[in-house]
Subunit: 92 residues, 2 copies
Amino acid sequence: MDEDRAVQAEYLKALAHPTRIRIMELLEQDGHCVTNIGEKLDLKQSNISQHLGILRSRGILSLRREGGHSIYCIKDPRALEILQLVRQKQAS
Amino acid sequence: MDEDRAVQAEYLKALAHPTRIRIMELLEQDGHCVTNIGEKLDLKQSNISQHLGILRSRGILSLRREGGHSIYCIKDPRALEILQLVRQKQAS
DNA sequence: CACTTTTATTATTATATTCTAATAATAACC
DNA sequence: GGTTATTATTAGAATATAATAATAAAAGTG
Protein backbone atom coordinates (compact mmCIF):
# COMPACT_ATOMS: atom_id res chain seq x y z
CA MET A 1 0.00 0.00 0.00
CA ASP A 2 1.11 3.50 -0.76
CA GLU A 3 -0.63 4.99 2.23
CA ASP A 4 1.61 2.85 4.39
CA ARG A 5 4.75 4.42 3.02
CA ALA A 6 3.37 7.86 3.75
CA VAL A 7 2.83 6.81 7.36
CA GLN A 8 6.29 5.30 7.51
CA ALA A 9 7.77 8.49 6.13
CA GLU A 10 5.92 10.53 8.75
CA TYR A 11 7.30 8.30 11.45
CA LEU A 12 10.86 8.72 10.25
CA LYS A 13 10.39 12.42 9.75
CA ALA A 14 9.42 12.72 13.39
CA LEU A 15 12.82 11.34 14.38
CA ALA A 16 14.70 13.29 11.74
CA HIS A 17 15.40 16.44 13.70
CA PRO A 18 18.37 17.23 15.97
CA THR A 19 16.23 18.55 18.80
CA ARG A 20 13.91 15.57 18.69
CA ILE A 21 16.89 13.24 18.71
CA ARG A 22 18.14 15.01 21.83
CA ILE A 23 14.71 14.64 23.40
CA MET A 24 14.76 10.92 22.69
CA GLU A 25 18.20 10.60 24.26
CA LEU A 26 17.02 12.45 27.32
CA LEU A 27 13.87 10.37 27.72
CA GLU A 28 15.71 7.12 27.18
CA GLN A 29 16.67 7.21 30.85
CA ASP A 30 13.45 8.53 32.35
CA GLY A 31 10.30 10.50 31.75
CA HIS A 32 10.59 14.26 32.01
CA CYS A 33 8.25 17.21 32.06
CA VAL A 34 8.23 19.94 29.41
CA THR A 35 9.94 22.58 31.55
CA ASN A 36 12.64 20.15 32.54
CA ILE A 37 13.36 19.21 28.95
CA GLY A 38 13.37 22.85 27.95
CA GLU A 39 15.96 23.66 30.59
CA LYS A 40 18.25 20.75 29.78
CA LEU A 41 18.13 21.54 26.09
CA ASP A 42 18.10 25.29 26.57
CA LEU A 43 15.20 25.88 24.24
CA LYS A 44 11.96 27.80 24.43
CA GLN A 45 8.97 26.19 26.06
CA SER A 46 6.69 26.49 23.06
CA ASN A 47 9.29 24.97 20.81
CA ILE A 48 9.78 21.96 23.07
CA SER A 49 6.06 21.54 23.40
CA GLN A 50 5.71 21.47 19.63
CA HIS A 51 8.45 18.90 19.22
CA LEU A 52 6.93 16.72 21.93
CA GLY A 53 3.59 17.02 20.19
CA ILE A 54 5.08 15.75 16.95
CA LEU A 55 6.71 12.76 18.64
CA ARG A 56 3.51 11.99 20.47
CA SER A 57 1.29 12.28 17.42
CA ARG A 58 3.39 9.56 15.79
CA GLY A 59 3.03 7.27 18.78
CA ILE A 60 6.69 7.57 19.74
CA LEU A 61 6.08 9.27 23.07
CA SER A 62 3.32 8.97 25.62
CA LEU A 63 2.16 11.53 28.10
CA ARG A 64 0.81 11.34 31.62
CA ARG A 65 -0.27 14.26 33.75
CA GLU A 66 1.20 14.45 37.20
CA GLY A 67 0.44 17.36 39.46
CA GLY A 68 0.19 20.12 36.91
CA HIS A 69 3.07 18.69 34.92
CA SER A 70 3.04 16.75 31.68
CA ILE A 71 5.46 13.88 31.93
CA TYR A 72 6.55 12.56 28.56
CA CYS A 73 7.91 9.01 28.22
CA ILE A 74 9.07 6.83 25.39
CA LYS A 75 6.19 4.71 24.25
CA ASP A 76 7.70 3.02 21.22
CA PRO A 77 11.12 1.52 22.00
CA ARG A 78 11.65 0.75 18.33
CA ALA A 79 12.41 4.40 17.84
CA LEU A 80 15.40 3.91 20.12
CA GLU A 81 16.54 0.94 18.06
CA ILE A 82 16.36 3.08 14.96
CA LEU A 83 18.43 5.83 16.54
CA GLN A 84 20.91 3.19 17.69
CA LEU A 85 21.28 1.97 14.11
CA VAL A 86 21.81 5.49 12.86
CA ARG A 87 24.54 6.04 15.45
CA GLN A 88 26.27 2.82 14.46
CA LYS A 89 26.19 3.83 10.85
CA GLN A 90 27.91 7.05 11.75
CA ALA A 91 30.64 5.29 13.72
CA SER A 92 31.44 2.99 10.82
CA MET B 1 28.38 16.17 19.94
CA ASP B 2 25.65 18.26 18.45
CA GLU B 3 27.04 18.06 14.95
CA ASP B 4 26.49 14.32 15.13
CA ARG B 5 22.77 14.70 15.71
CA ALA B 6 22.51 16.97 12.70
CA VAL B 7 24.14 14.27 10.59
CA GLN B 8 21.87 11.63 12.09
CA ALA B 9 18.85 13.77 11.34
CA GLU B 10 19.99 14.20 7.74
CA TYR B 11 20.35 10.46 7.42
CA LEU B 12 16.83 9.82 8.70
CA LYS B 13 15.42 12.62 6.60
CA ALA B 14 16.81 10.91 3.52
CA LEU B 15 14.69 7.85 4.31
CA ALA B 16 11.67 9.87 5.36
CA HIS B 17 9.94 10.20 2.03
CA PRO B 18 7.43 7.86 0.38
CA THR B 19 9.19 7.84 -2.97
CA ARG B 20 12.57 7.16 -1.41
CA ILE B 21 11.07 4.34 0.62
CA ARG B 22 9.74 2.86 -2.60
CA ILE B 23 13.16 3.20 -4.17
CA MET B 24 14.74 1.37 -1.24
CA GLU B 25 12.20 -1.43 -1.57
CA LEU B 26 12.92 -1.72 -5.27
CA LEU B 27 16.68 -1.77 -4.82
CA GLU B 28 16.51 -4.26 -1.98
CA GLN B 29 16.35 -6.99 -4.61
CA ASP B 30 18.76 -5.67 -7.17
CA GLY B 31 20.46 -2.61 -8.57
CA HIS B 32 18.51 -0.60 -11.13
CA CYS B 33 19.17 2.27 -13.48
CA VAL B 34 17.42 5.62 -13.27
CA THR B 35 15.12 5.08 -16.24
CA ASN B 36 14.10 1.71 -14.92
CA ILE B 37 13.25 3.08 -11.51
CA GLY B 38 11.37 5.95 -13.09
CA GLU B 39 9.24 3.55 -15.10
CA LYS B 40 8.45 1.22 -12.21
CA LEU B 41 7.51 4.12 -9.98
CA ASP B 42 5.87 6.11 -12.75
CA LEU B 43 7.70 9.32 -11.92
CA LYS B 44 9.65 11.90 -13.88
CA GLN B 45 13.29 11.25 -14.64
CA SER B 46 14.56 14.39 -12.97
CA ASN B 47 12.59 13.70 -9.85
CA ILE B 48 13.98 10.19 -9.53
CA SER B 49 17.47 11.44 -10.19
CA GLN B 50 17.10 13.97 -7.39
CA HIS B 51 15.83 11.39 -4.93
CA LEU B 52 18.65 9.03 -5.84
CA GLY B 53 21.10 11.88 -5.36
CA ILE B 54 19.79 12.49 -1.85
CA LEU B 55 20.10 8.83 -0.90
CA ARG B 56 23.57 8.68 -2.37
CA SER B 57 24.79 11.84 -0.69
CA ARG B 58 23.93 10.24 2.66
CA GLY B 59 25.87 7.10 1.82
CA ILE B 60 22.73 4.98 1.60
CA LEU B 61 23.09 4.17 -2.09
CA SER B 62 26.09 3.64 -4.31
CA LEU B 63 26.36 4.14 -8.01
CA ARG B 64 28.27 2.41 -10.76
CA ARG B 65 28.23 3.33 -14.40
CA GLU B 66 27.49 0.58 -16.85
CA GLY B 67 27.24 1.29 -20.56
CA GLY B 68 25.71 4.72 -20.43
CA HIS B 69 23.48 3.75 -17.52
CA SER B 70 23.82 4.63 -13.86
CA ILE B 71 23.11 1.60 -11.75
CA TYR B 72 22.15 2.44 -8.20
CA CYS B 73 22.57 -0.13 -5.42
CA ILE B 74 22.06 -0.20 -1.70
CA LYS B 75 25.33 0.57 -0.02
CA ASP B 76 24.26 0.78 3.60
CA PRO B 77 22.14 -2.22 4.62
CA ARG B 78 21.38 -0.58 7.94
CA ALA B 79 18.91 1.61 6.11
CA LEU B 80 16.98 -1.55 5.28
CA GLU B 81 17.00 -2.57 8.93
CA ILE B 82 15.58 0.81 9.83
CA LEU B 83 12.79 0.50 7.29
CA GLN B 84 12.10 -2.98 8.57
CA LEU B 85 11.68 -1.61 12.10
CA VAL B 86 9.34 1.09 10.86
CA ARG B 87 7.22 -1.51 9.10
CA GLN B 88 7.04 -3.66 12.21
CA LYS B 89 5.96 -0.69 14.23
CA GLN B 90 3.12 -0.12 11.81
CA ALA B 91 1.99 -3.71 12.00
CA SER B 92 1.80 -3.65 15.78
C1' DC C 1 -10.56 33.96 44.56
C1' DA C 2 -6.30 36.12 42.78
C1' DC C 3 -1.85 34.59 41.36
C1' DT C 4 1.59 31.78 39.68
C1' DT C 5 3.28 27.78 37.15
C1' DT C 6 2.99 24.72 33.57
C1' DT C 7 1.62 23.45 29.13
C1' DA C 8 -0.72 23.96 24.63
C1' DT C 9 -2.05 26.60 20.75
C1' DT C 10 -1.96 30.17 17.31
C1' DA C 11 -0.02 33.45 14.08
C1' DT C 12 3.88 34.95 11.80
C1' DT C 13 8.19 34.83 9.56
C1' DA C 14 12.08 32.42 7.78
C1' DT C 15 13.86 28.47 5.88
C1' DA C 16 13.71 23.97 3.60
C1' DT C 17 11.60 20.46 0.57
C1' DT C 18 9.52 18.89 -3.36
C1' DC C 19 7.98 18.76 -7.94
C1' DT C 20 8.08 20.30 -12.72
C1' DA C 21 10.14 21.97 -16.75
C1' DA C 22 14.03 23.21 -19.15
C1' DT C 23 18.71 22.63 -20.04
C1' DA C 24 23.31 20.70 -19.78
C1' DA C 25 26.43 16.93 -19.66
C1' DT C 26 27.82 12.22 -20.82
C1' DA C 27 28.28 8.43 -23.46
C1' DA C 28 26.62 5.10 -26.67
C1' DC C 29 25.50 4.26 -31.74
C1' DC C 30 25.17 4.92 -36.71
C1' DG D 1 30.91 13.79 -36.39
C1' DG D 2 25.97 14.01 -35.72
C1' DT D 3 22.21 11.89 -33.42
C1' DT D 4 19.98 9.61 -29.84
C1' DA D 5 19.53 7.84 -25.10
C1' DT D 6 20.57 8.39 -20.42
C1' DT D 7 21.49 11.02 -16.48
C1' DA D 8 22.48 15.29 -13.84
C1' DT D 9 21.73 19.99 -12.81
C1' DT D 10 19.33 24.31 -12.49
C1' DA D 11 15.61 27.56 -11.80
C1' DG D 12 11.11 28.37 -10.26
C1' DA D 13 6.71 27.81 -7.89
C1' DA D 14 4.10 25.45 -4.36
C1' DT D 15 4.05 23.40 -0.11
C1' DA D 16 5.87 22.05 4.37
C1' DT D 17 8.73 22.76 8.57
C1' DA D 18 10.62 25.28 12.26
C1' DA D 19 11.49 29.01 15.49
C1' DT D 20 9.70 32.93 17.95
C1' DA D 21 6.44 35.60 20.28
C1' DA D 22 2.09 36.13 22.09
C1' DT D 23 -1.90 34.23 23.99
C1' DA D 24 -4.94 30.88 25.95
C1' DA D 25 -5.96 27.02 28.89
C1' DA D 26 -5.43 24.20 32.99
C1' DA D 27 -4.16 23.35 37.42
C1' DG D 28 -1.79 24.09 41.58
C1' DT D 29 -0.82 27.55 45.72
C1' DG D 30 -1.39 31.09 49.10
